[in-house]
């Protein structure tokens, strides 16, 4: 099962390495990891997406909690939460297809952030389903490159 873990950690060097090492040493594969400071600059928030059985995830949570630099760990999967991911994708385009691609972008609330001869760059910040749907829609035009931020998630309360 897919789990979204949100961890508040000390904003210090070495913390990311510690957490990555913890996952690697136990053979847990990280699907995505996003990290950045919070409104309190001494605290960073990490959103970690991992797949595994509930037992494996219970261990992951406990091991994360054991780290001195980890302040709080939440498994958001069981809670009400909002989750979004940011994706940039550069799609092949010509004067004929540009309009079609723009139309698709509009349908998905994606933004056109760059246009140049031969390519158009879209940005979408949405759920994984909608991102996948958009990607499938523009795939026939030819995707040059795609980059994902990894999921960001917050509990609703």
């Amino acid at each position: 099962m897919r789990h979204v873990i949100s961890a508040q950690v000390e904003n210090r060097f070495g913390v990311l390495a510690h957490i990555a090492g913890l996952f690697a040493a136990r053979g847990y594969n990280i699907e995505s990891l996003a990290v950045g400071p919070t409104h309190d600059p001494s605290i960073s928030r990490m959103t970690i997406v991992v797949t595994g059985s509930d037992r494996v995830l219970e261990q992951v949570n406990k091991q994360l909690n054991k780290l001195i630099d980890v302040i709080r760990v939440q498994d958001l999967t069981a809670e009400e939460h909002v989750e979004r991911e940011l994706v940039l994708l550069r799609v092949k385009s010509n004067p004929k297809t540009r309009g079609e691609i723009a139309q698709i972008a509009e349908l998905f609330d994606a933004r056109i952030v760059d246009v140049r001869p031969g390519a158009i760059t879209l940005m979408i910040a949405d759920t994984q389903d909608r991102i996948t749907a958009l990607t499938e829609m523009v795939r026939p035009y030819g995707i040059h490159e795609l980059v994902r931020s990894g999921s960001l998630a917050l509990a609703r309360t």
Binding site: V9, E10, G21, K62, K66
Partner: protein, 604 residues
């Protein structure tokens, strides 16, 4: 007329620093150690830690100069296991630091509090492949409880304060402080923090919550009262928590037989009829039978490790209720699904339980356990006159008496020491359980003797293990640390040889320590007696290091030699030429269940 002479060096003793006094980082570190109550430290100097050493010999801290940094780390470990205080190690950067790694990993696996201070190249050179540079924080990350690289001299006192707090609270463990040379030399005002506040580390929260009204404690008490065939399974956590009295009280009040893990030995007195001694791969038959038949298990500060459980699917098949008391939540439900988890300090948890449970009679179960103990004792009878390791250990146990501290290396002799030493008190048994570190014994015994100079400290070692940190014999002699060492020399790496005999068709591949370059690669006639002479001469080496030493080759000499060692002041080594191919029984082969228990060669 005056005569000019070279002035003698003037290095006055270190006075305790006053609040706000401007000092170098190096002096702040030493002052902080003094404030943290450190009375002894172990280690080895070098380029990147010289500034700190400049203050060390003028401080009231006793410093034991080892002959290798691994030795120093095990000494600090031995000191910590006996006292419960953090053992302190001070070494230099690069190789000095990497030499401590085995010692740090050993302490980490067995939850031993250490504070290891490693010199580091100046911050301006970190990451530049500078001379004697190693990424100590990176290397120690997975084998320590926590680590620090001090970048700012203003952090030194706080880091030391936090390091001791982290090392000794919760589930204890080693903390590493990497200390760059320029930070040692920089100056700032000394401020010793009155309290520690680490927002990601609040072990006291767990400890405070436990009371008789705690729902899990109530559930556990009911389960214990209801159980027909309960077993207490007690690990090193009970020793660390100082919970022996509570374990003993619970066992006696509710008539629960007690088995301990290797690190838990001493948490429950083995002269009590309820004692089942050690369980697991080389546990007693009765301990393993009791666990196999139990309907309720109460695990206290133990972590269901693979040497205890064997094949998980066949472990405790009749057990209906697993109660697990542990301070480390990540140990609970890691290997075994737990029904009643109680996270907290073992002493507090058991004290809360004791307020709820009432005296219980379980005569049927007690009779069954006594019958197992009677019919399946640990065997020590041999129909010959040879020196068997079991005989030596029993003699040490008897002659050195109940007040001794026993330290071991790793291997067959370690298992025999588990069996044939009567473990009566906590913090009197030091052995590398989790990591299984050969070479642990001698230096850990030195640390133990420093911690308890008035108690007899016996290191039981093998000829393999003793050679791994033999250089520390010099340390013991020079510092007048009167440890007694019994080397059970079977001229093999005995435990590996035992496995080769049982599972690899007696192919003694590189386990014979008499092997020389002229031997055939595959020995056709192991133990035939045609082998080359044994090297080194262990007795001569001990004597060369300033020890008293004797070799014992006849059974009749065992007791006299041990008596002589006890009466001789200073460090003493006894080398016993023991039977070469004795095996440790019983044995449950790795990954098997109790049904596959082997009781001797005749049953294979």
């Amino acid at each position: 007329m005056t005569t000019e002479t070279t002035p003698k060096p003037q290095h006055p003793p270190l006075e305790p620093a006053t609040e706000g006094q401007v000092l170098s980082g190096a002096e702040i570190l030493v002052q902080s150690l003094m404030r943290a109550g450190v009375d002894v430290a172990f280690g080895y100097p070098g380029g990147a830690i010289m500034d700190t050493f400049h203050f060390l010999n003028r401080s009231p801290i006793e410093f034991i100069l080892s002959r290798h940094e691994q030795g120093a780390t095990h000494m600090a470990d031995g000191y910590a296991r006996v006292t419960g205080k953090a053992g302190v190690v001070i070494v230099t950067s690069g190789p000095g630091a990497t030499n401590t790694i085995t010692g740090i990993a050993t302490a980490n696996m067995d939850s031993v509090p250490l504070v290891v201070i490693t010199g580091q190249v100046p911050t301006t050179m970190v990451g530049n492949d500078a001379f004697q540079e190693a990424d100590v924080v990176g290397i120690t990350r997975p084998i320590s409880k926590h680590n620090y690289l001090i970048n700012d001299v203003r952090d030194v006192a706080r880091v030391v304060r936090e390091a001791f707090h982290i090392a000794t609270t919760g589930r204890p463990g080693p903390v590493v402080i990497d200390f760059p040379k320029d930070v040692q030399q920089a100056q700032t005002a000394f401020h010793w923090p009155e309290s520690v506040d680490i927002r990601g580390y609040r072990p006291d929260r767990l400890e405070k919550k436990i009371s008789p009204s705690h729902p899990m404690v109530q559930k556990a008490a009911k389960a214990i009262m209801r159980a027909k065939r309960p077993v207490l399974y007690v690990g090193g956590g009970a020793v660390i928590a100082g919970a022996s009295e509570e374990v003993t009280a619970l066992a006696r009040r509710c008539q629960i037989p007690v088995t301990t893990t290797l690190t838990g030995l001493g948490a429950f007195p083995e002269d009590d009829p309820l004692s089942l001694q050690m369980l697991g791969m080389h546990g007693t038959e009765y301990a393993n039978y009791a666990v196999d038949q139990c309907d309720t298990i109460i695990a206290v500060g133990a972590r269901f490790d693979d040497r205890v459980t064997g094949k998980i699917a066949e472990f405790m098949p009749q057990c209906e209720c697993v109660i697990h008391i542990d301070i480390d939540p990540s140990s609970i439900s890691k290997n075994i699904q737990v029904d009643i988890p109680i996270t907290g300090d073992a002493k507090a948890c058991l004290a809360a339980l004791l307020e709820l449970v009432e005296p219980t009679e379980r005569s049927e179960w007690a009779e069954q356990v006594l019958a197992w103990k009677k019919h399946h004792p640990l065997r020590e009878e041999f129909g010959d006159d040879e020196i068997h390791p079991q005989r030596v250990i029993s003699a040490i146990d008897e002659i050195a008496g109940p007040d001794k501290i026993t330290v071991t290396d790793v291997g067959q002799h370690q298992m025999w020491a588990c069996h044939f030493i009567t473990h009566l008190r906590p913090r009197s048994w030091l052995s590398s359980g989790g990591l299984g570190t050969m070479g642990y014994g001698l230096p850990a015994a030195i640390g133990a003797k420093v911690a308890a100079p008035d108690r007899a400290v016996w290191c039981i070692s093998g000829d393999g293990g003793i050679q791994m940190n033999m250089q520390e014999m010099t340390t013991a002699a020079l510092n007048e640390i009167a440890v007694k060492v019994a080397v059970l020399n079977n001229q093999y790496l005995g435990m590996v040889r035992q496995w080769q005999q049982l599972f690899y068709g007696r192919n003694y591949s590189y386990t014979c320590l008499r092997r020389r370059s002229i031997c055939e690669k595959v020995c056709r006639d192991p133990g035939s007696g045609k082998c080359q002479a044994y090297l080194p001469n262990i007795v001569a080496m001990a004597e060369a290091c300033g020890w008293q030493a004797q070799r014992v080759e006849r059974r009749a000499g065992i007791r006299d030699a041990i008596q002589w060692a006890e009466e001789t002041p200073g460090p003493v080594l006894l080398e016993f030429s023991v039977h070469r191919e004795d095996n440790v029984w019983p044995m449950i082969p790795a990954g098997q269940g109790v049904k596959k228990m082997m009781r001797g060669m005749e049953l294979i």
